[in-house]
Symmetry: C2
Subunit: 215 residues, 2 copies
């Protein structure tokens, strides 16, 4: 079976964001070495990545910004936009959601869940909030495929399991809990302390890592 790897996908998503910005800045064409400057990845690697999406530029002008963005989008984005649920619409969950710019992305928070019955029913930023006892019913009914976990750590494992058993296939985990889930469920963890430790280590040991920049 043909397999593709994760790293190029991550980079493509970043390229698309940057191309979108360039488009709004009025830039029409871009060379791989310019994208290299903007991303820190080598021009070689960028051209290699772009082979995946099939779009080809021209030696004289490079890549047409809007077209390349569109091609990457075709490759990366779901045409319909997967439905997302958030579990835990407390301070953390709401702050994170409000901080996002959801327009222009094929992604939408469809519902929220909370243990606090006072929050139920309130349609906060356009999505409806249900009590967590409704998870199974609503997730199935609305065909929700992705979950954002921003509930207290104590409930995290249970809430994750319930999302998964109701049909959720991928989870963005904002709790500090290391979730144990079936291996076919895609989980992305965001523990800030772990991230800080990573930054701390890499910053202290910069010298022993290869530079990632190109020519």
């Amino acid at each position: 079976m043909e397999t593709i790897s994760k790293k190029p996908i991550q980079r493509l998503i970043l390229y698309k964001k940057i191309l979108n910005q360039l488009k709004y800045d009025g830039v029409e064409y871009v060379f791989s070495h310019v994208l290299s400057k903007l991303t820190g990845f080598s021009a070689n690697q960028i051209r290699r990545d772009l082979m995946l999406v099939g779009y080809t530029g021209t030696p004289s002008y490079g890549y047409e910004v809007a077209e390349l963005e569109e091609s990457i989008s075709k490759f990366i984005d779901d045409p319909d936009g997967l439905a997302i649920a958030i579990v835990g619409v407390g301070k953390l969950g709401c702050t994170l959601l409000n901080h996002c710019n959801w327009s222009g992305h094929n992604l939408r928070i469809l519902v929220g869940f909370d243990i606090d019955k006072k929050k139920v029913g309130k349609s906060n930023e356009g999505y409806e909030i249900f009590h967590i006892s409704q998870i199974e019913k609503i997730v199935k009914k609305e065909k929700i495929y992705l979950g954002v976990l921003a509930c207290p750590d104590d409930n995290a494992q249970e809430m994750a399991e319930r999302l998964v058993s109701a049909g959720v296939q991928g989870i963005l985990n904002y709790t500090k809990i290391n979730l144990i889930l079936p291996e076919d469920i895609y989980v992305e963890d965001t523990d800030i302390m772990l991230t800080m430790k990573k930054i701390s280590f890499f910053t202290r040991h910069k010298d022993i890592f290869k530079k990632k920049k190109s020519t």
Copy 2:
């Protein structure tokens, strides 16, 4: 020059978190295949990673939990604990900081910076807040090496540059801006929409990725 790669380091940081949890659960010994279950990484890979820290277990009992945690910590953590500054102590910044458990980690938020003079001086969660005009002075004086960027997007690039020119070596970027900084500055981005897109893609295309679990 001897170089080490980033992925094992990330995994080691996760092992340490899990070992810490096991310790509190009263677990004394752990086998690599148990860590495999808890992390999703193969037992082979875990043993390979542990070679880096130099701690060796025994065939009969596996690894002594507390000792292994300590060894990883020696390898990963800075003995003194690098000083961190946060730029932007608004809703996002404060929520993220409060959500962390800073105790037991060799990391400390030393100061905050904000453009809003009303926030200056207030010692929120134990750290002092200065006006952004003080960045250069305070960062140098307090020898701050890491920065958390949680300011409005409009100021992000400028604030990052000022942190860097004052001596900051690594940045955790919570803005939606793609920062352009010297290549020797370590930057970790956390754009939620990009992460959601990634999860969306990988969830839809699970079948074409290799399973990462082991035997």
